[in-house]
């Protein structure tokens, strides 16, 4: 599994990074959005969900988007920085009129751009003019991907106009030294290019009804042509791996077996990290199994507005990923850990799949809209996932008893854990979380944690989750409604009237925390073991399956591999601390792409030659520091 994250290094340097259009494997920190531009993009995104979450649309304008560096939402921001009133937009939101909301929001952003352009042209000093140009351009970002997709010539024309406009604002120099005057004529001309396009496409009185809300220009929509705007996630989304990164425990690896000697497992490892197995929008957004299940565990920070109700949760059968699989129920679930997967069936929070193979196919085809996987792909994915082991925990024996290393409070808590309670039907916690079967019973029970879906519903049973490794997977319960293990204990004590004292609750919590602990829960990076070194090692391991696939002339699976690994290798080069060595990694990625190109052309000799060269060059890079 590749690590798809840019560390703090990139995050710090790339604070102005702007991503638009498709984002491939490696997500990068996005530049902050201006509040009103963020609200607009959120409105477009939420407006395409069914059922449309109107409360979220209102919130998008009223409150700062999640993770925003601005302390106020768009409405307050507009109040402080603009003379443009939001009343028509707010009225449209109140009326829940989707088309009107689109029209009013679009016009509002276009007017804001014009307002800032007015300020730029009217500014009496270069610094304020440049400030206004920057602001206008950041607002234009709300429309930029739509224009680029529909009208590349206009996109280029406007791009040059921004350059022209900024260049002609002049410079204040320093204390008069190096100052250059503004060129008003050029400023007006460049502004005219931008404003003219806005007037024609985003400031129209009556927009053509939109089936899908997007930033496509009105003239394009009127033309009747169709084009897919590359999918993008709205502001507030977070697809970075969690930090610190969970440690991956693979059974074969712990036994000293090299993954390159297990081609089926290595191929499954690649698939687990490949967005290519999913359909769009997941594929273009770089969503892979590992996006949610970092290193076989969870991703506590994953968040997509409209699909997540809190970080680490997602509704995979909502409107976004695969509309045909939309169950029209707002029921995001907390991402479960896959550690010890071969012991944790049945699968799904409610245990609805007895077969891991069936569950995996459902994820690929239904939840994320991918093509039907081949038997080989499912075999490989399962071979890999069945290697996921629980985290070693020296405070616990293999049969689930505490060792002497466990704290005293936990020892006391263990007794409570094993005590039958009348309120639990004379069962104990251990009745379901059976210590010598990895703290689970492979049964589904209705413990009252699920709100009834309708009168008389019997739909609240959930699969008993293991307690192993849970110290690092907060929050808890299927919907992540309980933030800590202590809260879980309190919930049982109160909802089941167990009558525990405060000291007993603390002891039981200590026991859960001890059972859920691990000796080394996170991957330890340092100057030698860098994130890129780990990614490089994994990617070259994935590629090693070509030793098996090339002789078999298995074009389909070779291409899936080369398309995934070449792109990831190139993207991950941006995480290298040794920046000077990046070109070598880019060249290596191209070498792998050459394998794919040769296979596409059915030139197996060339494919073999490129693969041989890849191995040689990879070895040379491996020997040097990253």
């Amino acid at each position: 599994m590749i690590q798809k994250f840019l560390g703090a290094f990139i995050a710090a340097l790339a604070s102005a990074l702007v991503l638009s259009g498709p984002v491939a494997a490696t997500p990068a920190k996005e530049a902050p959005w201006l509040p009103e531009a963020a609200a607009y993009r959120l409105t477009l995104f939420l407006g395409n969900l069914e059922p449309l979450p109107w409360d979220d649309v209102g919130t998008a304008w009223a409150e700062p988007y999640r993770g925003s560096e601005f302390s106020v939402g768009a409405l307050a921001w507009l109040d402080g920085s603009s003379d443009i009133g939001p009343a028509p937009l707010l009225d449209a939101i109140t009326r829940e009129d989707r088309q009107a909301v689109f029209a009013e929001a679009t016009r509002l952003i276009a007017r804001r751009i014009d307002e800032e352009l007015d300020r730029a042209v009217m500014a009496d000093d270069p610094a304020r003019a440049q400030q206004a140009v920057r602001t206008a351009r950041e607002l234009y970002r709300a429309f930029a991907d739509g224009i680029a997709a529909a009208d590349p010539d206009a996109s280029r024309r406007i791009g040059l106009a921004w350059l022209e406009l900024n260049s002609s604002t002049g410079s204040a120099g320093v204390l008069g030294t190096g100052d250059t005057p503004a060129n008003r004529e050029t400023m007006e001309a460049a502004r005219g290019v931008i404003s003219g396009y806005l007037a024609e496409n985003y400031l129209v009185d009556d927009f053509t009804p939109r089936r899908t809300l997007s930033a496509l220009p009105e003239t394009f929509v009127l033309s009747g042509r169709t084009i897919e705007v590359p999918p993008s996630l709205p502001p507030g989304s977070d697809m970075f791996d969690q930090d610190p990164l969970p440690r991956l425990v693979l059974n074969f690896e712990e036994q000293g077996i090299d993954e390159t000697d297990l081609p089926l497992v290595a191929y499954g490892d690649m698939l687990f990290d490949s967005a290519q197995i999913f359909g769009n929008p997941a594929q273009d957004l770089g969503v892979a199994c590992s996006t949610c299940h970092n290193r076989s565990d969870v991703n506590q920070r994953l968040f997509i507005p409209g699909a997540s109700h809190q970080p680490g949760a997602i509704d995979v059968d909502g409107a976004f990923f695969n509309p045909i699989f939309n169950d029209r129920r707002d029921d995001p679930i907390d991402i479960p850990s896959l550690r010890g997967l071969r012991f944790t069936g049945p699968y799904g929070r409610d245990g609805r799949f007895a077969s891991l193979r069936d569950f995996t196919r459902n994820v690929i085809v239904n939840e994320f809209g991918g093509d039907e996987p081949t038997p080989f792909m499912l075999d490989a994915l399962l071979a890999y996932m069945l290697e996921f082991d629980f985290l070693p925990n020296s405070m616990l024996t293999p049969d689930g008893q505490l060792t002497e290393a466990a704290p005293e409070a936990a020892q006391r808590g263990e007794a409570i854990f094993n005590t039958p309670f009348a309120a639990l039907g004379d069962r104990s916690c251990a009745s379901c979380h059976v210590p010598d079967t990895n703290f689970l019973d492979r049964q589904a029970h209705d413990i009252g944690s699920v709100a009834s879906a309708y009168d008389g519903a019997r739909t609240g049973a959930m699969d008993t989750p293991t307690l192993l490794g849970t110290a690092y997977t907060a929050p808890y319960f299927h919907d992540g409604s309980l933030p800590t293990l202590a809260a879980v204990v309190d919930w049982f004590d109160e909802s089941k009237a167990l009558g525990l004292t405060a000291a007993e609750r603390a002891d039981l919590t200590a026991y859960l925390e001890t059972v859920g602990a691990a000796d080394e829960p996170y991957e330890a990076f340092d100057a030698e073991n860098t994130a890129f070194r780990l990614a490089f090692s994994e990617l070259t391991t994935f590629a090693s399956t070509l030793n098996t696939l090339l002789p078999q002339r298995d074009a389909e699976h070779i291409l899936l591999l080369t398309d995934t690994v070449a792109a990831d290798l190139s993207a991950d080069a941006s995480t290298m601390s040794n920046l000077a060595a990046r070109p070598e990694v880019y060249a290596l990625a191209e070498r792998l792409a050459e394998v794919g190109a040769a296979v596409r052309g059915e030139d197996w000799v060339a494919a073999e030659a490129s693969w041989t060269a890849f191995k040689s060059e990879a070895d040379a890079i491996e020997e040097r520091a990253f």
């Binding site: 490696t26 920085s81 950041e138 350059l163 260049s167 410079s171 120099g173 204390l175 920046l579």
Partner: protein, 291 residues
Amino acid sequence: MAIHLNRRTMLALAGAGAVSLATPLAAQDTALRLAFIPQENPEKLLGDIEAITGWLASEIDVPVEGFVTIDHAAAVEALRNGDADISFMGALPFVLAEAEIGAVPLLSEVYRDAPSYTGRIFVRRDSGIAGLADLRGRDIAFADPISESGYLYPLAEFVEAGLIDGPGAAEAFFGRVFFAGGYQQAMQAMAEGLVDAAGASQYADLLLTPQQQAQVTWIAESPPIPSHVVIARPGLDAEVQDRFTNAMLQLNEPENRDKLRYLYGPDGYVRADSAAYGGVRDMARRYGLLE
């Protein structure tokens, strides 16, 4: 990041505790006043300033105030007027401020173990542009005319290569010369194909997406440029300078390194060596910015 320093924002921010956007009007005599130049969202910068000034005040036992100026020029103006005691500054604005008002360098930023960096000429890998001469008649975007790594030094590479007679003759060589407004904007213009090349800091390609980074390369690199600097107004009490400088050097210690993110994110600071900025002074003279 855009900044909105209009009247309403200034009023709103002026109420933010010890941090104010407006020129401090009634600072205590003993307060040390720091001028910051926004590189991103000023609201976040205000939060950063609050965090770092609070820490500095506890370290040097003197009240510390911070405020945001609109640009380098305004920060230098504040130093000259005595509205600021210390400011964060690029190397070129510093040497101009040194010449104009006698500003004193205190600390240099460290990136990747060096208090220096370079400027580069970046192009798209598929452009077929292999050397500076290939850019004759082509369009280029620089960051800003008052930027050492984003204009002066990269352009000087063309002079060194004998392609341009001098700084004033750039237009005769290139098709168009743009000032995009910053590294990121210049690099995006190049990566998107709006221009053929960009002149920017050696690290500027990290401002592109990982996919774009793989699509660009650089064809020329300047000599080392001394990194950004923390400067003091002339006449600032020597003991205050020392205490401030020593406190800032404490940021290099492991337990304090997390605070560097409040200060433009360098890897650390070293005491500034004024002589190290000789090359920048020479460069400024070549461009007619210094006598």
